[in-house]
Amino acid sequence: MMAVASIRSVFAGRTFAQIGLVWLAFVALAAIFSPLIAPFDPYEIDPIARLTEPGWPHLFGTDHFGRDSFSRALYGARMTVLIGLGAVIVALLTGGLVGMLSAYFTRLGHVLMRGVDVLMAFPALLMALVLMTLLERSVMNTIIVIGVVYATTTARILFGMTLKLKGEVFVDAAVCSGAGHASILFRHILPNLVSPLLVQASFIFAFAQLQAAALDFLGLGLPPEVPSWGNMLSEERIYVTRAPWLLIFPGALIILSVFSMNLVGDAMRDSIDPRFKDDIAGV
């Protein structure tokens, strides 16, 4: 009940964010139910039906292997959610922990945060590229690489927020009560970071899409046969003049989803503790 009420208050009067939320709900449903909804097997090659125009039964047309684009797009939603969630988890777990511990244990922080600063000097995509060339193309590796790339910004942000909370009087009060390090970090500091973390997660989710699409496009992301929106763009890009729909649909899907996630993130950011607003400036 409380959660519903607070969600409602976050999105009240924000038409665009509401539309974004609805779109994301669609994507989530498509991801969950893709095997049921998809009219064709996304991997099934049909050399006769190559590059069919959108229509019936191929709603989004077919690609140059004759695979059904609509079914691939549905399965692509699955990849989108998987990679987004995976990257969020990796980034929050690694970056979050590094940031929190660095802020809490000052001396450790000096060392760790210098490292983070060095990593942050590289553009995100460049870092992802370098890491991907070292690793095999797979879903898992893509998730890890994108997660690690955004771990640096997450670490920075959590570092700042933890530093603020560490100076709070209620933390001093907990120390005076005899609370240990673990209790202070996880019982007193972390719960106060939950809502800014959610906002941060929504931004990572959005940017992970872009990263994943870019990696796929450059042929370094998911294995080429895996149906993802980025791969669909990448595989069919040479047919842009003959079969533009093959690029328009996945491109639009990526843009819509990233945009929606950002709108939702913005709405959430505006409703959190004003102290932390400056910290989450985007990823």
């Binding site: 700042g160 530093l163 603020k164 100076g167 102290r275 400056d278």
Partner: protein
Amino acid sequence: MALLDVENLEISIRFGHELLPVVRGVSFSVDENETLGIVGESGCGKSLTALAIMGLLEGSGVRVTGGRMRFGGRDLLAMSADERRHIMGNDMAMIFQEPMTSLNPVYRVGDQIIEALQQHRNLSRRAARRRAIELLDLVRIPEPDSRVDSFPHQLSGGQRQRVMIAMALSCDPKLLIADEPTTALDVTVQKEVLDLMLDLQKRTGTAIILISHDLGVIAETCNSVAVMYWGRLVETAPTDALFETLAHPYTRGLLHSIPAIDRDVDWLDAIPGRVPTIGEQIAGCPFHPRCPRAESRCRHEVPQPREIAPGHLVECHFPYGGDR
């Protein structure tokens, strides 16, 4: 016409579907060279009144729902957001109650003052920094040229408050609203800071609204005093008249709660009970449940403001010094 005229100001807070009034019909005015003190218990609406004047209520679920505010003859509530912001930056300044939350802990205090200065004035960074150091010196921060590079947590509570004051003074405002500016300060610095504000007033004619719960501070600095209780001004008077008569039982109760510096008592005369919460329904005078003079009339009839002497308004059926 006074510089700032507040008439029947009503401020409400949204609770679910209800809009409950918190400040319920407050009127006062301040002119150049004047200092108005507002006193009252915590939560009675002093800060909200100040924020409403500054135009800082937007987006907090709190709204001005009635009354008028005029600044230099212009209706503040009818202004566009841009005009409002312009006035806020150049003609009005506020010293906030909580120095800890108004200073950003991750930036050096000097940079925060410099930013404020550069927003209002065309200053180079060098010049702004020099001015920032001057301001820190003005508010008696020791070694200002090195303290300018401190982070907020490296300053004591009182020093942080003084940094806030320096920021407010940086743009020579026409109206200065000081919300509990000296609560965190010790008496010697408090005196210096208050003198500083009065000094500014002498130089530039700034009108000052001083919000405080320290009646001593109010008595020494203000020309007139407004005593607020649960969103109403229950007593308004020139300072001398107010402290001479202490007409409203609430004003008197406040005064008796203060521990004396020149005499020992075992227990303080605290006002019993608590301030009613927002939206609570109280028949009659809102103060009657805590009032030593309450009679049956107080329980049924809401007192209206009465002028018991020139400029001395009291909202009480049985004020001290009045005929019963």
